[in-house]
């Protein structure tokens, strides 16, 4: 139940937001949607202009308020996504501008023996700093490409990015609070809030085992800089391998609890049908009979330098390039086909930035004869999981990892 304080926090945020120069300017441009997958809804294509949020390059606008913007395709040939091109995703529209000087993080809950509060300087000074590279991908990335379409933010392929994160281990921060053995989940809340008092605040929980994984961080740097406002300044939770829903932005409270969290965004959203996906990581305290919280990302790849309808020359080699990623086992191989999946060749993998990172791939292909040529990529991770040829339907439009079929024309 949202309180009056939440409401005031909300409107206060809006006033700050409107005065802080955080709003979009509108450099327009049509964005082609030709990654060789199903089409976006017509309305999504029509309204998906390139627009510029403060501090960002032009991104593909999906919605203004709350702001949801995706990264253009061409950025996904490189391992690291620049901060100013990193996608933006918010659930609720009351987003305050948080000041580094006044930001405080409260650590407590009924399963913490010694609750405490720290500021940003203390977080940086009192806990060992850890750096890792990890993909942050919205659970609903590619939702707009579901056929039949499902309701939600109709993302194309760009609701994801990969960055080098630096921060304190959540494990260390929890240890200082005296995590009790009764703890079952760690509840995360950020400074953002709902517009209407009755709207469920965006809060998430993690199972304790994932929260105390050595790779789960409270990050205060992204690619060597403070996080952009839009990506959770000053501190966001980084949950490598798991979808972005758990990566709480502008985190302000962390509570260790002895009973499963009851909030809407865990009980009523971000769930996938049981048995349909090759899920390894389990969130056991939140299992229902028919569905489970989404956890790790499915293995996927994206060809980012070739699009459907493009013309290529017979006998002249060109590179097919992109990135591959998964939920933390690491990419073992990326195969590319230029004959619609009848035959495959292994692409050359780029630098290994760790098992949570994008892995770039490239392969030179030569059109053998005039006519259409269907280019596909297929990533395989170290657990042997690969991508699907057919969409795995699920009500909320998560885990889209269908292989692209990019049809180019050789002349």
């Amino acid at each position: 139940m949202a309180s009056r304080r939440d409401f005031l926090k909300g409107t206060g945020g809006l006033v700050l937001a409107s005065g802080g120069g955080w709003l979009a300017s509108h450099a327009h441009g049509a964005v082609p949607n030709t990654p060789g997958l199903a089409a976006l809804p017509g309305g999504a294509t029509a309204s998906g202009d390139l627009e510029t949020l403060a501090g960002k390059i032009p991104l593909i606008k999906r919605s203004w308020r709350p702001p949801n913007y995706e990264t253009p395709l061409s950025y996904f040939t490189a391992e690291i996504t620049p901060n100013n091109a990193f996608f933006v995703r918010w659930h609720l529209a009351a987003i305050p501008e948080v000041s580094a000087a006044t930001w405080k993080l409260k650590i407590g809950g009924d399963a913490a023996a010694t609750p405490y509060e720290i500021d940003l300087e203390q977080l940086k000074r009192d806990f060992a700093a850890v750096e890792l590279v990890a993909v942050n991908q919205c659970s609903g990335n590619r939702r707009g490409l579901f056929e039949p379409h499902v309701v939600g933010v109709e993302w194309g392929v760009g609701a994801m990015g990969n960055a080098r994160w630096k921060g304190a281990r959540l494990k260390d921060v929890l240890a200082k609070a005296g995590l009790k053995k009764e703890a079952v989940e760690i509840v995360l809340d950020g400074a953002d809030g709902p517009v209407m008092p009755a709207t469920p605040d965006f809060q998430k929980s993690l199972p304790v085992w994932k929260a105390i994984d050595e790779n789960t961080l409270l990050a205060y740097e992204m690619n060597g800089e403070p996080l952009p406002h839009w990506n959770g300044f000053p501190v966001r939770v980084v949950v490598p391998g798991w979808t972005g829903t758990y990566w709480m932005k502008q985190v302000t409270s962390i509570n260790a609890v002895s009973k499963p969290f009851e909030g809407f965004w865990v009980k009523g959203a971000y769930r996938i049908p049981i048995g349909k996906f090759p899920m390894i990581d389990h969130f056991a305290s939140q299992l229902f009979v028919a569905n489970a919280p989404i956890t790790e990302m499915v293995v996927n790849s994206l060809i980012a330098n070739v699009t459907s309808g493009q013309q290529v020359s017979v006998g002249r080699p060109f590179d097919v390039k992109g990135v591959a990623w998964d939920g933390g086992r690491g990419i073992a191989q990326v195969d590319v086909s230029v004959d619609g999946g009848r035959s495959w060749r292994a692409a050359t993998l780029g630098q290994d930035l760790g098992r949570f990172s994008f892995r770039s791939f490239a392969i030179a292909v030569t059109p053998p004869a005039p006519g259409p040529m269907v280019i596909m990529s297929r990533a395989t991770n170290r657990a042997g999981s690969t991508q699907t040829a057919e969409l795995i339907a699920n009500p909320a439009g998560y885990h889209h990892n269908v292989m692209q079929r990019i049809e180019v024309n050789a002349v």
């Binding site: 029509a46 999906r62 919605s63 308020r65 309701v151 939600g152 709207t199």
Partner: protein, 94 residues
């Protein structure tokens, strides 16, 4: 009374923000005023265009119901019906 005060506070806050959004010219048809007055309080109206045109009447009914029941939108029954009818007729599956 409390609802009115909240509405006024939101209007003040959103008056500024909404002006920064590009204006969405929703299709001119019965129900548009109710859509703009209610839906636009919590989210920009481009969400409607974004989610079109693939929902049938039952789909838009379900979306409006979810906004009220799950997200706590204070929309009265008459407006809810007008909104769902408008969305199905103008932004629904043809």
């Amino acid at each position: 009374m409390k609802t009115t005060l909240i509405a006024v506070a939101l209007a003040l806050a959103f008056g500024i923000v909404a002006a920064q959004e590009r204006r969405i010219e929703l299709k001119d048809a019965p129900g548009r005023a109710q859509v703009e007055a209610n839906c636009g309080s919590c989210h920009s109206l481009d969400y409607i265009v974004l989610n079109s045109p693939f929902l049938d009447k039952a789909g838009w009914d379900a979306s409006v119901t979810k906004m009220i029941k799950v997200f706590g939108a204070p929309i009265n029954a008459d407006d809810a019906k007008a909104i769902a009818d408008y969305l199905a007729a103008n932004y629904g599956k043809s």
